[in-house]
């Protein structure tokens, strides 16, 4: 069941991101929806699932949204999933503010790791400080809204299940 949920979440995040790229290309720079499943399983799941979701999400991101070395995204997000899963097990981050802070932090860390790995691979790049900060904040905001919607959907699902 968890596997189906993971696949569903990853598919939805990919659909959302490509849709955003097609309809609002300007906004797509500042929101990374493919990061949200990693955050979700990081704060609400466990360390192991967060790592595996991070790995899958990173590879999908690499395949569809990158031309740099394939596997870089998987490497970054596996590490992020591990860290986030560890944090999620110690602190309660599964509320609005916690989700915002964690997602923004994770998006920022994702960007920094990207810069570091690119520098190691000797790839030419500009320093996207403002863009990275804006992307972190916007992705954090998107996470709050989307996770609130998922919560509502799950509550309704549970309630109708109890009635049934």
């Amino acid at each position: 069941m968890t596997l189906i949920r993971v696949i569903f979440a990853l598919a939805l995040s990919l659909i959302g991101q490509t849709l955003l790229t097609r309809l609002l290309p300007g906004a797509a720079i500042f929101i990374d929806l493919t990061l949200l499943p990693v955050v979700w399983w990081g704060v609400a799941g466990g360390q192991r699932s967060a790592m595996l979701v991070g790995c899958a999400s990173g590879l999908i991101h690499d395949a569809w949204f990158r031309i740099a070395v394939f596997g870089m995204g998987g490497f970054k997000r596996t590490l992020i999933g591990w860290l986030l899963g560890g944090l999620g097990g110690r602190f309660d981050l599964n509320h609005g503010l916690g989700r915002f802070a964690v997602t923004a932090l994770v998006a920022f860390a994702d960007g920094l790791l990207d810069l570091g790995l690119r520098a190691m691979l000797d790839l030419r790049q500009s320093a996207p400080t403002l863009e990275l900060i804006a992307r972190s904040l916007c992705t954090g905001l998107a996470a709050v809204l989307i996770f609130a919607f998922v919560d509502r959907f799950r509550r309704r699902d549970r309630y109708s299940g109890r009635l049934g």
């Binding site: 598919a11 990919l14 659909i15 959302g16 490509t18 849709l19 790229t21 097609r22 309809l23 290309p25 300007g26 797509a28 720079i29 360390q47 192991r48 790592m51 595996l52 790995c55 990173g58 590879l59 999908i60 690499d62 395949a63 569809w64 949204f65 990158r66 031309i67 740099a68 070395v69 394939f70 596997g71 870089m72 998987g74 490497f75 596996t78 590490l79 591990w82 899963g85 990207d114 810069l115 690119r118 691979l121 790839l123 030419r124 790049q125 500009s126 996207p128 863009e131 992307r135």
Partner: protein
């Protein structure tokens, strides 16, 4: 209880090491290959492409409805203007037919090639990324369509980028604005040569232009065709800024001729044609 907890921590740490090592292996394999996408990347794209197709279909529908509504608003007013334009175009068509016949006769006389157009293939954009560290497109054509790495990708109006990875049915294109992109360029008006390099932003750098060369704001840069993969004469961009540096050098900025964010269809040139002009005979790209 404590030992069970530490057991989980140890297992997770082991899984982390295994996963990171696997990613490193993937990266190493990928770095060695310069000719295209790895098998795993192709599989990932094939496996997830149905979801992207859903999104493309849905996005195309929404965009179509939006554009249809926008068109409807001004349709009535444009109708009369279009009627006048139709009359003018009919007259131009008659003249063009005459010119075509004349052109055929002249071509036979000069024993020229039937066409200078290279073999090319149209492709739709199925994905893109437009951040400051990376600017790329994913096209729906791949190895099975004859696409190879280092082929030029163009659109109506100018050069778009270069194919950098090819899968069975997809290709990744590095845009000219990507920080790792470069193309030999020439100013159309004065033939001043230089190197056009992506910045990761919305503009391009025009480097290595001699201080003695005549370049002014608004000049058009085109592909020189001397080095690289782009045919001569393809538009790159227009000069929007010239900064004279203290060390005597110049910093020239170009605004690309194409809005890469709006691209939906492009053309992949399947033949290496660097150095050839794609402009019809008689219409030289030289001033």
């Amino acid at each position: 209880m404590r030992s069970a907890g530490s057991g989980i921590v140890r297992k997770n740490a082991l899984l982390l090491v295994v996963l990171l090592f696997a990613q490193l292996l993937i990266m190493t394999g990928n770095a060695r290959r310069a000719d295209g996408a790895t098998q795993l990347e192709s599989w990932t794209i094939s496996l997830t492409s149905p979801f992207v197709s859903i999104s493309e279909g849905f996005g195309g529908g929404i965009r179509g409805i939006w554009e249809g509504l926008a068109d409807l608003v001004g349709a009535h007013g444009r109708n009369s203007a279009l009627e006048i334009q139709t009359q003018q175009l009919r007259a131009e068509l008659r003249r063009a037919r005459e010119a075509e016949l004349e052109n055929d006769r002249l071509r036979q006389l000069l024993q020229m090639r039937d066409s200078l157009s290279p073999r090319s293939i149209g492709a739709s954009v199925i994905g893109s990324r437009n951040t400051s560290t990376e600017k790329m497109l994913i096209l729906d054509r791949g190895e099975s369509d004859g696409v190879l790495p280092d082929q030029a990708v163009v659109a109506w109006g100018g050069a778009v980028g270069r194919v950098v990875e090819v899968g069975r049915s997809h290709a990744k294109v590095r845009l000219l604005t990507d920080p790792n992109s470069g193309i030999a360029g020439v100013i159309q008006r004065t033939r001043a040569q230089g190197m056009v390099q992506g910045t990761g932003g919305e503009t391009l750098d025009f480097l290595y232009v001699s201080r003695l060369d005549d370049v002014i704001y608004g000049d058009r840069a085109v592909a020189s065709g001397s080095v690289g993969i782009f045919p001569r004469g393809f538009g790159i961009g227009r000069i929007v800024n010239i900064d004279e540096q203290a060390d005597g050098s110049r910093r020239i900025k170009l605004r690309p001729e194409i809005d890469y964010r709006e691209l939906e269809e492009v053309l992949i040139l399947l033949e290496p044609i660097a150095g050839e002009s794609l402009l019809p005979p008689g219409l030289s790209d030289e001033p």
